[in-house]
């Protein structure tokens, strides 16, 4: 109970720190004179380290937390924040991918067709996002984050969805498998259905990933698990691996457009990776439900901030 209260306190302290007007204010001449250049990257490192810890515990990618929080409360332009968000999502997926593939949790055959559609559409999303006026992207980001909050609050998950018969497309693509669950020491055979609908939705998810630099695990997993019927662990692992492909194409667009600023991107990537390592270690020792509530609260705050910033109400 005490630990849960401490976590709530830490979460709200972080939220309050981020909401502090002096920090949220745009960097104009006056505030520049009082702040050394290294304060922001250092603060960014600390915040991303904390985000890395809570993201692992909440089962989220770092990008979905990073973009609204850093975009809303740091002085960096949203173009660079989205570029960094994509690199965070990419770095996390690249690190996790080999282990997930070796363990047989992620499925290369399930990922490849969906990643092809997703990576092509993420290029479109990235190009559109970098061409649109920033207030429109901010507004869209705010609405998307608030949708994710609603999704996290209400979405159901199915450990082993019932797939009575594989559809023709997944049969032709031989998308099926067996995975070994080290926890239960059991082998589970799986197959998928509604592949065509899944491909259509992954096109939309790719656009969102490129547009907002969010990564897209929050959307991938429900489509793989609830729509296509892949077991939950296979869905989570395959989604995580797929981001290493989908986010690569969008990351190239941001890089070529000049929207990857090393002083924002690298401390964030290192911070979130180190935080994720700590998160994995403490995963079993912290109350995940409390962390999840803190994350939802933070996202609610950041999504509202992005929406109001986009609408010109809270700048």
């Amino acid at each position: 109970m005490l630990r849960e209260r401490s976590l709530w306190f830490a979460g709200f302290a972080a939220a309050a720190l981020l909401a502090e007007p002096a920090l949220a204010a745009d960097v104009d001449g006056a505030s520049l004179s009082t702040l050394q250049w290294w304060v922001w990257p250092l603060l960014l490192f600390v915040v991303t380290f904390l985000l890395g810890i809570v993201a692992v515990i909440a089962g989220l990618g770092g990008g979905v937390l990073f973009v609204p929080i850093v975009g809303g409360f740091f002085p960096f332009h949203l173009d660079f924040v989205r570029g960094a968000g994509l690199m965070i999502a990419l770095a996390g997926a690249l690190s996790a991918g080999p282990g997930l593939l070796r363990a047989g949790m992620a499925s290369l055959r399930l990922a490849m067709p969906l990643a092809l559609v997703g990576s092509a559409s993420s290029i479109v999303g990235a190009l559109v996002g970098l061409a649109l006026p920033v207030h429109i992207v901010q507004t869209g980001l705010g609405l998307t984050i608030l949708f994710i909050v609603a999704l996290m609050w209400t979405a159901k998950k199915s450990e082993f969805p019932d797939v009575p018969r594989a559809d023709a497309l997944s049969t032709a693509l031989r998308i099926h498998g067996i995975y070994f669950d080290a926890g239960t020491r059991q082998e589970t055979a799986w197959q998928v259905h509604r592949t065509r609908e899944g491909l259509v939705l992954f096109a939309g998810i790719g656009v969102m990933a490129g547009l907002f630099g969010l990564g897209a695990g929050w959307a991938n997993v429900p489509v793989l698990n609830l729509l296509m019927g892949a077991p939950l662990k296979v869905s989570v692992a395959t989604s995580s691996f797929m981001l290493s492909i989908v986010d690569s194409s969008a990351a190239w667009v941001y890089l070529n457009k000049g929207a990857v600023l090393p002083m924002i991107t690298v401390p964030s990537v290192i911070g979130i990776m180190l935080g994720a390592r700590v998160g994995v270690r403490v995963l079993t020792r912290v109350p995940a439900a409390a962390i999840r509530k803190i994350i939802i609260t933070l996202l609610l705050l950041a999504g509202t901030r992005a929406l109001l910033k986009g609408l010109g109400i809270w700048n």
Binding site: S95, P98, G258, V266
Partner: protein, 139 residues
Amino acid sequence: MATPEAPHASPEQLVYARWLDIGTKIGFLVLVAAFAAYVLGIATPHVPLDELPRFWSLPVEEYLAAASVHSGWGWMEHVMRGDYMNLVGVAMLSSVSIVCYVRLLSLLWNERDRIYMAIAALEILVLLLAASGVLGGSH
């Protein structure tokens, strides 16, 4: 410690995992080394560190104009500068999947798996198109 290999992971999946692992580690190493050279002042940056706050709040188009940097592969002109050196690591991380897919394509070719060969080839084309800068740069 490496993750134990599952008995049901296909041989091509295991090869892909090995290449992904090696490529990612090299990319991270380059990224961290370049960033250390940047912040420790070993390599002089194109944009001075104490002037960064004037630049990072600008939209990307204005930033490029203010910093006199071209989009597309224009950053390569400044690759020996501390800040742009970091983009080599970023580019390597963004390219790991292309290398893995090329390796995968050769395995699929050996197996005569035409459908997945086509998917892999298309994915390589998509990633190369994104990397080419054709869609990105206009300056």
